[in-house]
Each structure stands twice: as C-alpha cells, then as structure tokens.
C-alpha cells in the first residue's frame, strides 16, 4: 500500500500514466483484492473523472486501451472484494486472559478479538472454536465459561489458523455464595435506572420511595427497602409479590414503566435477596475496588458489531464478570452504540467511547469506526517531533490524512497571535517570507517565546484560572494587583509551574505581604476551594460528588470530602491594614461526611491517604499535587497549554477530565505530560515543542478525509481571536494607545490585572469575567453586538482616524497601492491579491480624497473575518 501513497506524494505532478503504472504494480501481489479497490480509488482521486477524459488527455492509444482494460479489471476485482473480503489476520486476542470461577453461580464471558492487517478488529467470539484440555472442570456456552467442578483446566481457542489458551480455575463449584446487598442488589438499581435523579434517586424520592442518588448511601437504601412499608415494598412471606419486584417488572402500575423482565437476571437477583430475607451486608463482604472493560480498543467497519466484557475486582482479590450487570453508554451514538448487554454496533465513520458503569466506577473503551471497504493509504509526511508521531498515529487509526503545511505568512501570523498576542509588522512578514533558511519557523518561534508579551499572555490566562478579580469587602484592588504581579514575576522568572502551584497552595501570611495567599481570600468556602483546586490544577470536576457519587466518573462522596479536608484548617484574620487578610494554617477544623457525620481524613484525589498530623494539610497536598506522582497535574497543564495553541484540548473541555470524557489522543497527552514533568515543568519548553511540531503548522484547509475532524488535529482550527488580543491588535495595527483603569496609557488589554476592570469592548467580545475558575469563561462565539461594535463602535472607526496610519503613509510618499499593500500586511500578514487590487483600483479612481478611500479600506479590513480570526 505504502508505495502507492509514496508515489502519490513524490509524483504529485507526474503524468497520470505513471500513476497508473504504479497502481498496476501495486495490484500485482494478489490475492489482496481490497488493495485493488483502494488503488482504483486512489487513481480516481487524481485522474480525470471519466475514462473519456482520460483518453482525451493521453494521446498514446496503447496507453488508453490499457487503461480501459485495467479499469474493467479493477471494477471486477472491487465487486469481488466487497462481497468476500478476506484480509490477513495479524493478531488474535482473548479477553480476559484467565478465568477464575469462585462459586456455583460464577461465570466469565470471553471475547475473542481478531485484528487484521489493515488495523480493523472483529469479534471472533462466535466463530472461534473452543475446547477444554481437561473436561469436566468447566463448560462453555455462548462464549461464557461456567463452573462444573473444582480444578484447573485450559481452554483452547482457535480461529483463522491461530490458537490461544486460557487457564481456567474453578473453586467452590458446588457452593452458593450468600447474596450481597451492595455487590449484587445495588447494581440492579443502577442498571435499572431506579436510583437516577429523575426516578427514586431524586432528593425526595419518587412516588414515596427514595433511593440514594446513584447509590451513594447503600446503608440507608437498605433501611428504606427493608423497613418502610413492610409487607408491601418487601413481602418476605411471598417474595414474588414484593412491590419492588412487581413494579419493576411491570406487573403493577409503575410510573417508571417496566424496567426489566421477570425472568431477567436483575429480577432474579432481587428475588434471591428477598428470599434470603433481605440481608444487609456483613462486615466480611468485599468491596469493589476496580473495573475493567475489554477490549480497550475496537476498530470496526461500519455495521460491524463487537462484544465487550466487563470484569470487577474486589478487595478480597477475586474477580467477577459483571458484563450483564453493568450500565452502558456511548459518548457518540451515531458512531457506535452499545446495548445494555455490552454489544457495540458500529455506524458512521468516527470515534466513540463506550463506557461501562458499575459500583462507583466508570471505565471506557475506544471505538473507531471506518467506512466499510475504505481505501486508505498513509502518505509519508515529515514528523518534526514526537507530537507529530503521536498525532499521526491516531490519524492513521482513524484513516484520516493530515492537511498540508500552512504558508509562511499564515504561520507567522498564527504563531505571533498564539505566542505573543500580537500581529507581525509588515516588515517582519516580508522578511520572514523572503527568508529561505529551512529552520526559519523554529527560529521565529524561539524569538517570539523570548518576548515579554508571551509571558503577559500566560499571566492573563493564569489570572483567569486563579480568578484574580477585586470585589468589594473581599479582595481590594491593591490585593488583586499584588496577586497579579506575583504571578507575573513567577512566570517571567520562568519558575517551574509546579513550584508556583506549590507556593500558591501553601501560601500563608498577609494578602499584601505574601500575595499568593490571596488564593484563599478569593474563595473562602472550604468545599469550593477544594472544587477549584481539583478543576484548575487537575482538570477534574468533583462538584457532583458533593451530594452523590459522580455519575460518570469514579469520584465518590468519600473522595470529595476527604479531598476537601485538606482545606478545612485555613485560618483567616483581618490584617492591620483593613484591606488585608492574614491567611494561616490553623490547628483545628475538619470536614464531616454529610451522610453519617464521619470526620473525613484528608486523602488525595485518586491517591493515598497521607499522614498529616502536626503538618499544614495544604503543604502535604501541594507536595503531592504538583509532583510527577500525581497523574492528573501534568496532564491537565499540558492539555491547557495544548488547547491554547490547537484550539481544542486533547481532553475537551480542558477542565473536565473524566472517565466518560476521555482524551482524544491519550498517548499524546501522556507523552506531553511525561515530557513536561521531565523538563521540570518548564512550560516555555513545552510551548516550543508544540509550536515546532508540524501538527501546529498544518493549514486550516481540510482535505477530503479530515473535513469532519474536530478532535484529532488533522488540520489547524480557525479561531476567533480572543477579546483582549483582538483589542490589542486593533490598537496595534491602528497605532493608537488604549487606556485601561489602573494601567498607564498605552498599556495592552492582556496586561489588565484585575478581572473587575470593565471595558465595553472586552465584555462584548467575551472576555473571562473571572467569576469562576472554569476554563470556558472566555467566549469566542460571535454575537450581533460584536458585529455592530466593530461596524459602528469606537473600536475601529475612531481608531482608524485617531491613529492616522494612512495619512502618515501617504505623507511619507507612499503610493495608494503601496499603502494598500501595507494595510494588508499589517492586518492580514499578506499582500493583496491582484483581484483585490483591481477591485480597489476602481474605488481609487473615483473622485475625492484618496485618504478617505484608504481609511475606508482600513476599516473594512478590520471588519473582515480574515482579521478577526486566527487561521
């Protein structure tokens, strides 16, 4: 395959006949018929649309004839290939790789996955042949292993000429395990939707029956079930007539309708529990400690189906197949749906994550769907660094082609806007375009990174995340300014981000004397502080878990309140200056669990429970949070930085990393995070790597394959310039000076320290109000008032006049065409096209002042999309 693509790249302008020859050569190693199909399509992409045209183009008769014959042959091959594809099997896997059965009811669903040379996967579970080495230990029905007697055996699986073995062990084959309320009954409520917010999980329950939302409080659920409405809800005399079963199976009127059938496993589980006398769990019952979904990655052709198997791990070291009891959902149904028994059905081309939820865990698998019979070949594009390697790897999985490299002028404009928030001057553009050095892009990135505007832009972004904003009776303007200056000094000094974060989180003292302590003055609520820290520094939104276990992630109320406990001992007192607050680490103060009033020990989110005695809890947290040990910190930061340059995070929204919102390219995120941590959290180095990558330098124009891609960075995004930068570049190109409160005239909008400083322009164009720490506070959606403000407001018309750029250029003796070129260069970083010049010439020929016409042109340029967008 590859040599075809190679030829396509290398011989883009070669005569078509040569390409045909290449295609012919590619077709020779039969029986790979699919490849014929692809070659044909490849040809079609580059060849005239019809054979007639092809003939017309090629005078050699022999060649034309050969082409016709070949076309007929290819068509025949394509039809055959589509009906009976037989791609090469390259790998065979079974999930899980071992089977341990622990009691009579235990079982294990196996999924056999075949991987083919083209990267696609198929579910071979039903076609595979199975055989036990030692009979009588276990049996296999519908790819599920059931116990027969105690012992050890091996299951042999054969498919497509390959063979796998799965060790099987069976213990307690004759014994029934006592039913567990938490492990078996609670999952029924989750899968049945009984404890969801719209049903009995509502704060006041539904129709007189309440369950804890998503099962955050099993003890109370048990109490309500077993002690409320005895004889009705639970009828121990005739368990089948308990309302909890009759309603769920639709035997009696139920607002929620029938949730499952009478013979379903869910119904049977409830019945077993009722028959056992509705026992609560004893002390020895294991806890669920983990969940796995397998296989983790599926590459399916449209309309294919594939099973997944879900296995829970318990605190006693055992596993259980919970495929039937897990709740499934897909984040992209049009691409891949998942049924409630774990069957994935592929539909449209794209990528989806299917998730299984069981107990407090949510796990996901990636599903890539490609069109059936797609012809695809990967062009050998250069890779500037590991970023390109990993982005391209993902694109190959998705069968997407990256767009071409953007032009030099576009690159300079893009990099200048992204790195410094400024536009290149006309001279800089011309110099850069004329430069022939092969490393000129890398050099210009390094030059831009050395400018102070780079730091200022990031100080602004951090100021948004830290919500640096004065507010009456809380944070004085002086405190906000000192806080901002501290941030600026820290970033300008190129201090590692983890050190800055550690200093911030452990800050004590006066908010004037030690400005990072403003972090704890800005938000004085313990729970909100914990939420903000999780969101800003780890990209995790734990807000849900304040009241119930997170429905789409692993965070439980225990996690939430244990994390909040790190912030429960922050003392505050008014300083001698009444505007100043002194933050200190107090000796007491605890967070209690709202359900059972337990005092929660501080515990890292998704980590250990550290020893905090006689220590500032915040210091213990900060040490862990900003260390390479924390899996979230580096990933979150690189994702934030990535999103700034690429228009979208690898996890998007950037501050909402969760199992149900996985990274679009986890390998890339991990590699960036690893690199960032290894480079001692030096964010300038990270930015340099991103901007040096070819991925960053791709054109915005999509090709046929990647037009629909919004998450995998196959082409550059078109982004409206954010409010502050837009204000600054309008000021820059018009050569005017702005005045913002608290800053000297001529200061730039990105330098505004206090989020409360008001500006009509910035508000209209969606600047972050810094009222929350959410990264999506910045709005770049267009609005009518933005358009009107640019058309009629003082942002453009007045500034064009005030700056007097046109008048100055004319005075310097420039011709109108030279002025036009200058204006285009300063606004668009490119020269006008001939068509544009011709059009403008008509205006210049009209009687009247040239200056007026040119000023009008300047105004038009400022109002154009090309100016307002970074592309």
């Amino acid at each position: 395959m590859r040599h075809i693509a190679d030829s396509r790249v290398k011989n883009a302008k070669a005569p078509p006949g040569r390409a045909v020859l290449d295609a012919e050569r590619a077709s020779t190693p039969a029986p790979c018929l699919r490849e014929f199909g692809r070659s044909r399509r490849d040809l079609d992409l580059r060849q005239p649309a019809t054979p007639d045209e092809a003939i017309a183009q090629h005078s050699t008769r022999g060649v034309a004839l050969r082409a016709i014959l070949l076309a007929a042959l290819l068509l025949a091959c394509f039809v055959t290939g589509a009906t009976t594809p037989s791609p090469t099997l390259v790998d065979l896997k079974v999930f899980p790789t071992t089977v341990d059965l622990h009691h009579r009811r235990d079982r294990q669903l196996l999924v056999v996955q075949a991987t083919y040379a083209d990267g696609t996967t198929r579910d071979a579970s039903s076609q595979a042949r199975y055989a036990f080495a030692e009979p009588g230990i276990a049996k296999l029905t519908n790819a599920t292993v059931y116990p027969l007697s105690n012992g050890i055996s091996t299951l042999k699986i054969a498919f497509g000429g390959r063979e796998l073995t799965v060790p099987v062990s069976v213990t307690n084959a004759a014994q029934e395990r006592p039913i567990s309320f938490k492990l078996e009954v609670m999952p029924v409520f989750m899968k049945g939707g009984c404890n969801s917010g719209a049903c009995h999980g509502a704060a006041r329950g539904k129709d007189g029956f309440r369950l804890s939302l998503f099962g955050f409080d099993p003890e109370n659920d048990h109490r309500r079930l077993s002690t409320e409405f005895i004889g009705r809800r639970v009828n121990l005399a005739i368990p089948e007539e308990s309302l909890m079963i009759e309603k769920a199976v639709g035997k009696v009127q139920h607002t929620g309708g029938q949730r499952f059938t009478e013979d379903s496993e869910m119904s049977q589980t409830l019945l077993r529990w009722l028959k056992a006398g509705v026992p609560a769990d004893g002390a020895g019952v294991a806890r669920c400690t983990g969940l796995e979904i397998e296989p983790r990655q599926l590459v399916l052709e449209s309309n294919a189906t594939h099973r997944v198997t879900v296995r829970a791990t318990y605190s006693d070291g055992t596993h259980a197949d919970v495929t039937a009891m897990a709740l499934y959902l897909s984040n992209n149904d049009p691409v891949a749906k998942i049924s409630q028994d774990g069957m994935v059905s592929a539909a449209q081309r794209g990528e989806a994550f299917v998730m299984a939820r069981y107990a407090t865990f949510t796990v996901g698998a990636q599903v890539i769907v490609i069109p059936e019979g797609l012809q695809y070949s990967w062009p050998e594009v250069p890779e500037n660094n590991y970023i390109d390697t990993l982005v391209n790897a993902k694109l190959r999985k998705l069968r997407l082609l990256p767009s071409a490299l953007c032009g030099d002028a576009i690159f300079l404009r893009r990099a200048s806007l992204d790195i410094t928030g400024t536009l290149p001057s006309p001279e800089e553009v011309e110099k850069f375009v004329a430069d022939t050095a092969p490393d000129k892009r890398d050099r210009v990135v390094d030059q831009l990174l050395a400018r102070k505007e780079f730091i200022e832009l990031w100080v602004m972004k951090w100021a948004e995340l830290l919500q640096i904003r004065s507010s009456p009776n809380k944070l004085s303007y002086k405190a906000a300014l000192l806080y901002y200056n501290w941030l600026q000094d820290s970033l300008a000094g190129n201090r590692p981000i983890n050190r800055i974060v550690q200093e911030l989180l452990t800050a004590s003292g006066g908010t004037f004397k030690n400005p990072p302590s403003n972090y704890y003055q800005n938000e004085t609520d313990t729970l909100k502080t914990a939420e903000n820290v999780a969101q800003v520094f780890m990209g995790i939104r734990i807000q849900c878990a304040q009241c119930h276990n997170h429905p789409f992630d692993r965070w439980t109320m225990n996690d939430y309140y244990s994390f909040a406990a790190f912030f429960s001992r922050i003392g505050r007192k008014t300083g001698e200056d009444p505007r100043e607050t002194i933050i200190f680490a107090g000796n007491d103060g605890d967070v209690t669990h709202p359900v059972d009033k337990r005092v929660m020990p501080p515990k890292f989110l998704g980590g250990d429970q550290p020893e905090c005695k006689d220590q500032d809890r915040r210091a213990v947290l900060a040490q862990w949070l900003a260390s390479p040990d924390n899996p979230f910190f580096a990933r979150n930061l690189v994702n934030l930085i990535w999103a700034h340059f690429m228009g979208k995070g690898i996890v998007e929204p950037v501050d909402d990393a969760r199992a149900s919102n996985p990274a679009s390219n986890p390998e890339l995120l991990a590699a960036l995070a690893k690199q960032f941590a290894e480079q001692n959290f030096d964010f300038k180095k990270l930015v340099r790597e991103i901007c040096h990558s070819r991925t960053y330098q791709l054109a915005t124009e999509a090709n046929e394959t990647n037009a629909g891609d919004t998450r995998d960075f196959s082409h550059a995004p078109i982004r409206r310039v954010r409010a502050e930068v837009l204000s600054d570049i309008i000021t820059q190109v018009t050569e005017t000076r702005d005045k913002f409160q608290g800053l000297p005239r001529g200061a730039r909008a990105v330098q505004i320290a206090d989020g409360a400083v008001s500006s009509y322009f910035l508000t209209t164009f969606g600047r972050a109000s810094r009222e929350t720490c959410a990264a999506n506070e910045v709005k770049t959606e267009p609005t009518l008032s933005q358009a009107l403000h640019l058309l009629n407001g003082d942002a453009t018309q007045v500034k064009v006049q005030e700056g007097g750029v046109v008048a100055r250029l004319l005075k310097e003796g420039k011709t109108p065409n030279q002025v036009i070129a200058n204006l285009y260069l300063r606004c668009f970083s490119r020269k006008p096209t001939d068509a544009e010049l011709a059009k403008l010439d008509e205006f210049l020929k009209e009687p009247g002042s040239k200056e007026t016409v040119l000023n009008d042109l300047f105004w038009s340029l400022l109002n154009s999309k090309e100016f307002l967008f970074n592309h």
Binding site: P472, N473, K478, L481, S508, F512, E576, I582, F584, L743
Partner: protein, 847 residues
C-alpha cells in the same frame, strides 16, 4: 463573659497608632523644647486693603501649604479653608512652632498666610493645629516638621529616563496624580547609607497608599517598600550603596492610583531608618542602652536616660553621621525593671529567668523564622497578673502568640490577638510556684526586628476621656469648646474606665478667662454625660488649649483620666475603616463673638413619669432682626428616655415644645440635660446650648388595666378601666381614651386619687370595623404646680367589635333566571352580523 469584656476593652487598640500619641511622647521626646502649647500671636494682624468680610461661624481649615517644614527654619504657611476672614490665631497642639504674623489677603475668606518659625529643637513629625477666628475655631489639621530642607516635585519627573535630580538629605513635597510615577535621582558614595521614607497616608489628606523603591541606573530594584509595620501604609527602606553613582527613587501609589490630593513628603538621605529598637522600654528614670534594629550590618546603639514619668509610647529618633531619622521608633517607660532574653531560650529548659519580683518587663526578639522564646517567673496563688505583649503596639512586625505553662509544660492560658495583633491575657496562678511564659509569631515568622516586650503587672485601673463623634460624616464636628460671648456651649463627654468602676467628677482645667464649666458627676453606671460651658458677656475674645480631666468621686482612688481625643482624617474600604487619624490630649476652647440668639429650657417643675411623656418648653431669645429658624436637638437622651431627633423653632418664633418620653424601665432619678440649638448665621451654622436642666424620672401615680369590651357596629360600648392608685395626687386627673377604632368616639373623663375604676361610654358607628382592636390606652394627665404630668396607661386594652347577627332570611319565590346568553363563536358572530346586514332590526346592530 469575662473574656468578652477584655476583648472589647482593647478593641480600640487595634487602631492604635503611637506616632499620633503625644500624651507622653510629646513631653518626653528627646528633642522637646520649651513647652509653649499655644502661640497666640495675633500680634501682627495685618489687614490689607478694605474691610474684613462679615465674621462667620464654623471656620473650616482644609489644608496647609507647604505640608511641612525643616526645623530651625522660618517659612510662610498658607492655610486654606473657608470662613477664615476673621482669623486671629493659630493654635498649635505641640511646642516648637512660633507664629510670627498672620496675614489675610484682601476680601478673602479662603486663605490665611502665616509666617512661622520652627525652632531648631522642635520635635520632628506631626504637629496638630487649628485656626481660631473671632467667630469660631477651625477643624484640626496637621503640619509635619522634618530634619531636612524641602524641595518641590518638578515636572518632568514621571519617566525613569528623565528623573528629577535632588541632593541627599532633602524632603521632596509632591503630588501623585492618577497613575503617575515619580522618579528622583540622587548621588551616593559607595558604602553610604541611602534611606527613603514617605509621609503619605499619615498626612491625613486623602486615601493615599504610597510605594517607594530604590533602583540602580539599570532599573534593578535594590530595595522597595509598600506597607511597613513601623509606618503602616507609608513606606520606608534603605540600602548601603553598593557603588558610587546615581540611584533612582521611584514613588507612586501602590496600585497606580492617585489624584490631586495625594500629597507626599519623601525624605531622601543618608539617615538611619531603623525598624525597631531593643529593648522596647525600660524603667522610668533609668539610663538604658538601646540598639536600633533593622539596619543590617551597621549596628547603631545609643545610651539614653529615660524620663522619670511612665509613658505608653516614647519616641526615640535614631541618629547617625549627623543625620536623624525623620520619624521615631517607639518604646515604653514603665515603673518596673527590665529582663532581657538570654538566647538560647528556645525551650522550657533554657527559659530566661524573670526572677521572683513582679511587676517586670520581659524584652526579646523573635529573631528567625520558627523562633520561640521562653521565660520563667515566680508567682503566688490567687495573685491576678495582667500579661501584655507590646509588639505591634510599638510597631514591631511580630504578630505575637503568648502562652503560660506550668513546669510540666501544660498550657494554663494562651492568647493570640486580644490586643489588636498583640496578645493579652489575665493569669491567676493556681498555686505558688514557677511558671513558664512562651512568645512566638503567629505565622512562625521571625527576623532581626521582630522585637517585643511582655509586661507582667498587677491589675490596675485607668481612666480616659474623649468627646464622642456627633456626626457620621465629620469626625471633627463640635470637638472643641466654642462659646459665644454671653452664651453657652455644651458637649458630651465620654469616659473610658479600665479595671475601675465608680462615679467620676469631670473638670475642665485652664479654660479661657470668662468661661465657666458646669457638669454633674458621672454616675458609675454611665459613660456619657453633658457638660455646659458659659461665657460671660464681657469675656475677652480669645482661645487656648485646656485640659479636660476626670477623677473618681471616691477620693481614696488615686486615678486621673485625661483627654485622649481622636481625629479621623481618612476612612476607606472596607466598612469605613480608619486609615489616618491623630490623637491629642488637650481640647481647644475659645470665647467667640456674640451670636444673635440664645436659648433656655424652662426647667420642668414636675417629673417625667415612667411610661409618660413631657413637653419640654424651649424659649429662644432672638436679637432684633434675627428671625432664622432655630433647630433644637437634645444633647443626649439619658437611658430609658426618648425624644424626637430634632425640633424646630420656626422662623421668627421664640418657643417650641420638645416632646420627650420615658419607657417603663427608665431609671428613677434626676438627670441633667441640655438642649443644643443651631441656626445659620452669616451663612454658617452657629451652635449654642441651653443651660443644664434637671429632669426627674419618677414612678407613675397610678396604674390602669383596661378590661375588654365588646359591641356591634353602631352600638354603644362601655369600656371599664380598673385603677391601681400608687401615689395620691391633688385634684382631678383628666383621662382620655385613645387608640379607638375608626368611627368610635368617647368623651374625656376625670378621676380623683380615690377612684378605683373608670368607665368610658364609647359610641360606634356602622363604619366601625369588625374585629378586635387592641390599641386602646389611656392618657391620664395630672396637673401639679400648674404643669401637666402625662401618663400613658392601660396599653394594649381591647375593644371587640362583633359582626351583627344576620337578619332572618325572607323566603321569597325565586324568579326564574333569564337564560344565560350563549357565548358565540367567531363564525356565529359573522353569521349574525351577516343576518343583521340583511335585516338590521332583527339583530339590533346599529345601522
């Protein structure tokens, strides 16, 4: 409860700013000169040009230019304000400044120019002043005396590249306009000390929080300062010049604010700028060795003989190389000896011993981060000890935490912030023996200037006085005694007692001639009392500072309370917090020109009874031609007594009734009250007072219960009142039933001292609303010696108006109801309309 009291007691100390305290410092400052408190130099009153503008009351002083001056020099002071045309004198609250002459520009009431001479030994720092005019005394403002000659800030100096060049050891006076940054260039030799200090917020002009930095010519900041423990919002810093050459001083508002009122005095020089002194106090009369802190490697020590009188805040000025710091450091002069810490004393085993004799003062420095200092002392069981840490109160950066431990290390008492940032506690030893005292910083910080002094003293009483604020917006209003000739002035005096309770006698000492003060002793359960000052008709027009004192009526108590008067200059966010204020220990008093009105209260001959009201008669004496309305205001309401906020004597009239009332809990006793009166005179408010008048609160003569009555609208009711006669009265008392519902009326009734009950026949009308009307009460007026004693009795009495019984219903044959008109659909209406057009009469549709 006990703890609450102590916290409250020290709440004022939070805003304690010793540089304002001249009570002790002033007289004991090492540089204090001849004690001339006021310079009454109307000696050369030059009237230039035409006649003086008509004298007006309430002169206003807004500012002085320059803001300060160098000691030992003579300069012209421009005082700006309003209604200053009859200025006669500048009253200085501290010695050292002599007024050589006052000049009032022609037809100008806004400006006064004064030639002043600052004596070479004048105390450095703030000097409070007022202008006394013939018709009034101005607000209090401040003037700053410094050690250096003054230069003015001169544009352009707002650019690093274009600084204003100044010599060393000068004071620059300037104004920071909005977002302005000023740069000054000075030359310094290598190794020379270069210090800067700014007076900004202290000047009391406006909210101005300055920032200062010393930079080298390459823009590197060598030292900077924003807020300091020593000077609060005002900055100071210093460096030892690393090389010979120019240095740049940057000065701006700390948040790049500023405006035309943001004045500063920037001292730039080679003076030492210590941030503290150790030990921060000593025994009165003894000679001690002081070490100035915060000067880096350069050690500066001095020997000093302490004054013989104890002092809460004694100013000491560091001097080195012939240069003096422009503002002082502070220490305490106590009647007991010092103990100095002996390092290491970081644990109990190495505690510095304070010996066995209390009272004692422990002096130490928390000299590095995490440092703790331990002391031990011996005390006897039951002997209550006050333990006071003086650190922030002496402007140390330390935020102290104090605890007392037994020999086993168990904590017996601890405190963090009961005295502002300082710690304070009372400790009663549970047994005889040795105890341990621990001092540390709240944030576990430390440094070479984190000095402190812990005083262990027996509980002692103290007293002080002040005039309370009378206006929310103007802290200066009526804070001096201004008595028009032949008239009166009154003020409330507020006493603060610590560890003492008892009656106090008030005394105004050294009043200007012709003024007499009146005031009863202040009862032990009161903190406020009025004093009235009366000037003779021929008293000379003059003014001076005088003392206001209080002392216990019980002569066995040897306490004296002096005036400790605050003047707030600058308030700001949050919550009107105080940012700049000053304290003085004397009050300005003056006899001023006559005002055209005077008031008297007709002293009531009868008491005000509990739950009763009284109309106090106020009579105005107007000079012919003066008919402005006069506003009356009770100077204060004694506890349990209420009154209208203001009562007006209308234009041209001479009488008003001022209604006052007493609640049921008002103390039965005789109070002294006075009524203040104000009226516009020549466009400004003039204030006078009535004489002090006795007001007696007494028990009511009788009690009454109104029994519930009921009737129907339009019917009569009899309201029975049961009387409980408490004290006999003469003649008949008039009773009026009040609070009746709409339409209900009754006639007044009379009773005598022998009546047991009283009945009102109440008539109602059909309009009287049905329901229970619980608003009834009875005004009983007893007339004694011709004056009414009005009781409000029987409150909450109830008159129930019942709904009349329904009339018997007549059963009449019901007429068949006309058929309800059928609502028509749009289509039906259209049809009808159509039919109407065909045959208009059929539908009645107008033609």
């Amino acid at each position: 409860m006990g703890n609450r009291k102590w916290v409250g007691m020290f709440s004022d100390l939070h805003a304690y700013q010793p540089w304002r305290v001249k009570a002790a410092a002033l007289r004991t400052a090492p540089v204090s000169g001849p004690h001339i408190l006021c310079q009454a130099l109307g000696l050369v009153l030059l009237l230039l040009g035409g006649p003086m503008t008509a004298p007006a009351m309430s002169p206003l002083l807004a500012s002085t230019t320059p803001l300060g001056g160098q000691r030992g020099t003579e300069l012209e002071l421009t005082l700006r304000g309003e209604r200053l045309a009859d200025a006669q004198q500048i009253i200085w609250y501290s010695p050292g400044i002599q007024v050589l002459g006052i000049q009032i520009p022609t037809n100008q009431a806004q400006t006064v120019k004064a030639r002043i001479q600052i004596s070479p030994d004048c105390r450095l720092g703030e000097h409070a002043l007022r202008i006394r005019c013939a018709s009034g005394v101005s607000d209090l403002r401040t003037f700053w005396v410094g050690p250096f000659p003054t230069v003015n800030d001169t544009a352009p100096n707002s650019d690093f590249a274009q600084p204003q060049t100044i010599p060393l050891n000068v004071t620059v006076e300037g104004v920071v306009e909005n977002e302005a940054v000023h740069y000054y260039r000075v030359e310094a030799r290598q190794g020379q000390r270069l210090s800067v200090e700014v007076e900004g917020m202290r000047l009391g002009r406006t909210f101005f929080d300055p920032f200062v930095a010393i930079m080298d010519p390459k823009r590197f900041v060598l030292a900077s300062s924003d807020d300091t423990a020593l000077l609060m919002q005002d900055p100071a810093c210093s460096i030892i010049a690393p090389a010979e050459g120019p240095y740049l001083i940057q000065l701006r508002e700390s948040s790049y604010g500023g405006n035309g009122d943001c004045h500063y005095r920037l001292h730039v020089g080679s003076f030492p700028r210590p941030t503290g002194v150790f030990p921060a106090g000593g025994k009165a009369g003894e000679s001690i060795s002081l070490k100035f802190l915060g000067l880096g490697a350069a050690d500066l020590t001095t020997q000093m003989k302490l004054p013989s009188e104890p002092s809460g805040a004694l100013a000491v000025f560091a001097e080195s190389g012939g240069q003096t710091a422009p503002s002082p450091n502070w220490l305490r002069v106590s009647p007991f000896p010092n103990v100095l810490e002996i390092e290491p004393n970081d644990d109990r085993d190495h505690a510095t011993s304070a010996g066995t004799n209390l009272p004692i003062a422990l002096n130490g420095i928390i000299d590095h981060d995490g440092d703790v200092d331990w002391y031990n002392f011996t005390a006897t069981k039951g002997q209550t000890i006050e333990v006071n840490v003086y650190a922030r109160r002496l402007r140390s950066p330390l935020d102290s935490v104090l605890s007392i431990h037994d020999p086993n290390g168990n904590s017996l008492a601890s405190n963090d912030d009961s005295a502002g940032a300082d710690s304070y506690l009372r400790f009663t030893p549970p047994n005889d023996g040795r105890f341990f005292l621990r001092v540390s910083d709240h944030l576990k910080k430390g440094g070479p200037d984190f000095f402190y002094r812990v005083e262990l003293t027996p509980v002692a009483g103290s007293l002080s006085l002040k005039l309370p604020d009378v206006s929310r917006n103007n802290a200066q209003e009526r804070k001096c005694i201004v008595v028009p000739r032949g008239n009166r002035f009154a003020t409330l005096v507020q006493a603060e007692r610590q560890n003492f309770s008892g009656d106090l006698s008030l005394q105004a000492v050294d009043l200007p001639s012709g003024i007499v003060a009146q005031g009863d002793p202040m009862p032990g359960n009161q903190t406020l009392l009025p004093m009235v000052f009366e000037a003779a008709a021929d008293a000379p027009i003059a003014g001076k500072l005088c003392d206001l004192r209080c002392k216990p009526v019980d002569t066995t108590q040897h306490l004296i309370g002096n005036l400790h008067q605050d003047f707030v200059f600058v308030r700001g966010e949050p919550g009107d917090s105080i940012y700049s204020q000053t304290f003085v220990d004397q009050i300005a008093a003056a006899v001023v020109e006559e005002v055209p009105f005077k008031i008297n209260v007709v002293e009531p001959k009868v008491p005000l009874v509990r739950n009763g009201t009284m109309d106090l008669k106020v009579v105005a004496l107007r000079r012919p031609g003066f008919d402005e309305p006069i506003t009356l205001r009770m100077i204060y309401n004694p506890p349990g007594i209420g009154s209208a906020n203001e009562v007006m004597i209308p234009k041209g009239e001479t009488n008003a009734l001022y209604r006052i009332n007493a609640n049921g809990e008002a103390e039965v006793r005789t109070w002294k009250i006075a009524v203040l009166a104000t009226a516009p005179v020549n466009g400004a408010a003039a204030w006078v007072s009535s004489q002090l008048t006795s007001l007696t609160v007494a028990e009511p003569f009788l009690a009454m219960k109104i029994e519930m009555a009921s009737t129907e609208p339009g019917q009569a009711a009899r309201v029975l009142c049961t009387l409980d006669q408490k004290a006999p009265f003469e003649g008949k008392a008039t009773c009026r039933l009040l609070g009746l519902p709409n339409g209900a009326t009754t006639a007044d009734a009379t009773i005598t001292k022998d009546d047991k009950q009283l009945v009102f026949d109440v008539a109602t009308t059909a309009a009287t609303p049905v329901g229970q009307h619980r608003s009834l009460f009875c005004a009983v007026t007893i007339v004694q010696t011709g004056e009414p004693i009005i009781h409000s009795l029987g409150g909450g009495g109830c008159l129930r108006i019942d709904a009349p019984k329904p009339a018997p219903v007549e059963v009449a044959a019901a007429k068949p109801a006309p058929p309800a008109a059928k609502p028509l659909t749009h289509l039906e209406k259209l049809r009808l309309e159509h039919a109407g057009k065909q045959n208009p009469d059929a539908t009645g549709t107008p033609k």
